[in-house]
């Protein structure tokens, strides 16, 4: 590690010497001991097409959204659950934990600080997982294209399945995005979870380029 | 003051109790009780001492006397020992010499007193008096000597010797009684002799002499020790 990196390192993750109850001292390296630093794996679809098709149908009809509002677009998500739009009809529900979620909605601009959290949350979602990018900002930076603090292209950092353009897109557009996502899943084209793994180094390099205070393992299990 | 009046009240209560519980119950006896009767009646034939009290003190109830001697011995030991020990730590200043008058008077009086003391204890079985009284007189003589002439030094060793030997002899006589006669301190292992003569009443004169010597030397010892340890009174 270079000195520059050390500057941002969380002191809690630095190696430390502790004394065990038996009086012997030993070194704890939190990055090694507390985090699994294995590389992610590719999870191939079931080899029997019929089964995979059936499962994809089920996945498409049961979209559990990670309730993590990353940008200003998150204000458009709650109306989805109201009587007017009622996304429940389409099998869309929100979950509070990435472990149980399938869909990650990136709701608009993404600051660098948030990107780190987005990456972590994305990696903690289970395969298969889908990303729905909301608004112009995720495509080219939108009105923040020249901001020092936001990213311009989301798909440099995590793979995106569906873009919903607009600034901001209305809930109807979001519903349309869901429908698009559903059809992608049903067609078996929504394998971006595996794509992320396959291009892991590229994504990681992009992420690390922009996130200076990288103080987590390369892959957040 | 409250405390003192309380104490006074308490003492008064004690007095009242003493009066009611003890004195009022006491009636002057018409005749001697059986113990006294026995002593008075049989003493002359059994012991042969003219002074019945002496017979009681030395023979019949000789253990009392032995106890007294022991008490004195203890007191003398403790006192002698302590005063001596103190002397080690704090040397006593030189004492003024006694005045001419006092010295002279004491020279006259002391031998007489000692002789009187000896007389008293030697005749303890015949006349009022005995070992303690005689010893006390001897002690007085020594006291006189010490008061009259503070610088006059008497060897305490002599007194120790006398004391030890006389005490031991007393005990030995007691044991002799046990072995030779009826019991411990039985004086009858020596002949009773003739009543009212000096050598009568068995071993009583002997015992009383020993007691006299012992008491005398003990009291003298105590006095001398106390005298030696008194700081200079100037």
């Amino acid at each position: 590690m270079s000195d520059e990196k050390n500057k941002f390192e969380n002191p809690d993750y630095a190696k430390r010497t502790v004394i065990g109850p038996d009086g012997k001292s030993f070194v704890v390296d939190p990055m090694q001991d507390y985090f699994l630093d294995a590389r992610p794996k590719v999870y191939e679809p079931v080899s029997i097409p019929v089964v995979e098709k059936f499962l994809n149908w089920a996945r498409s009809e049961s979209l559990w959204v990670l309730g993590f509002g990353t940008g200003c677009g998150s204000i458009e998500i709650p109306p989805l659950m109201t009587p007017r739009f009622d996304a429940f009809r389409f099998g869309v529900q929100s979950r509070a934990t990435p472990r149980q979620s399938n869909v990650f909605i990136i709701s608009g601009y993404l600051s660098i600080k948030t990107l780190k959290r987005v990456v972590r949350s994305y990696e903690q979602m289970q395969n298969p997982k889908y990303v729905l990018a909301l608004g112009s900002c995720t495509i080219n930076g939108g009105m923040y294209f020249d901001s020092y603090n936001t990213i311009n292209r989301l798909d440099h950092y995590i793979p995106v399945d569906v873009y919903v353009a607009g600034c901001m897109p209305r809930p109807e557009a979001l519903l349309a995005g869901f429908n698009k996502l559903k059809s992608l899943i049903r067609e078996g084209k929504a394998e971006n979870g595996n794509k992320y793994v396959k291009d892991f180094d590229w994504y990681k390099a992009n992420q690390k380029k922009i996130i200076k205070d990288w103080n987590m393992p390369d892959y957040n299990w | 003051m409250l405390k003192n009046s309380f104490i006074a009240l308490l003492v008064l209560a004690f007095g009242v109790l003493l009066f009611h519980g003890v004195v009022k119950l006491y009636k002057v006896p018409e005749k001697l009780n059986r113990t006294a009767e026995f002593y008075n009646s049989n003493e002359a034939s059994q012991i042969g001492a003219a002074n019945v009290v002496t017979a009681v003190v030395v023979t019949y109830r000789g253990l009392y006397t032995l106890g007294e001697v022991t008490v004195l011995f203890l007191a003398a030991s403790v006192i002698g020992f302590f005063l001596k020990r103190k002397k080690k730590t704090a040397p006593v200043d030189a004492k003024p010499a006694g005045s001419e008058l006092m010295t002279t008077a004491s020279k006259v009086l002391v031998p007489g007193s000692i002789i009187l003391g000896v007389y008293v204890f030697v005749n303890g079985h015949l006349t009022p008096g005995g070992g303690f009284q005689g010893g006390a007189i001897i002690g007085t003589a020594i006291l006189l000597l010490a008061l009259a002439n503070p610088t006059y030094s008497i060897s305490k060793k002599v007194f120790h010797w006398i004391e030890s030997i006389s005490g031991f002899v007393f005990v030995a006589i007691g044991l002799a009684g046990l072995l030779l006669a009826g019991g411990f301190l039985d004086t009858r292992f020596l002949p009773n002799g003739e009543m009212l003569s000096l050598f009568s009443a068995g071993a009583i004169p002997l015992i009383y002499s020993m007691i006299g010597l012992k008491v005398g030397s003990e009291i003298s010892g105590i006095i001398l020790e106390l005298n030696d340890t008194q700081p200079n009174q100037d």
Partner: protein
């Protein structure tokens, strides 16, 4: 006979006892306490002697004249109280002497004869 010799002796005995007690209990000076104890002792001894007194009788000493071996039981008093008192006096002497030594040793250390100064041991 209020003023008989035995009554006077009894009264003085009790009085001495009470004076001695009062003195021992109220005087703060150790030497005075010891003196008071002596008085107390004396009172008790007087009491004992008085109890042993029988009016009109004499000391139990055979002098061959007034008191003989034959009539001693009728004319002489009880010898035992005499013996007891003798013992008590001597013992009292020993105790008093020892008390005085204690007083001396106590004074030696603290230069005080006030009993109130010796209350380090309490409770």
């Amino acid at each position: 006979m209020l003023l008989s010799i035995e009554n006077i002796a009894l009264a003085s005995g009790i009085l001495l006892i009470l004076i001695g007690l009062l003195g021992a209990l109220t005087n703060k000076n150790i030497i005075r306490m010891i003196v008071a104890f002596s008085i107390f002792d004396t009172g008790v001894n007087i009491l004992i002697v008085t109890f042993g007194y029988m009016p009109g009788r004499t000391a139990p000493i055979i002098d061959g004249a007034k008191v003989t071996a034959q009539n001693i039981a009728q004319v002489a008093i009880d010898p035992v109280p005499q013996a007891l008192v003798l013992t008590a006096i001597v013992i009292g002497f020993g105790v008093t002497a020892l008390m005085l030594v204690f007083a001396l040793k106590m004074h030696e250390k603290r230069k005080s004869l006030d009993i109130n100064d010796y209350t380090d041991l309490k409770w």
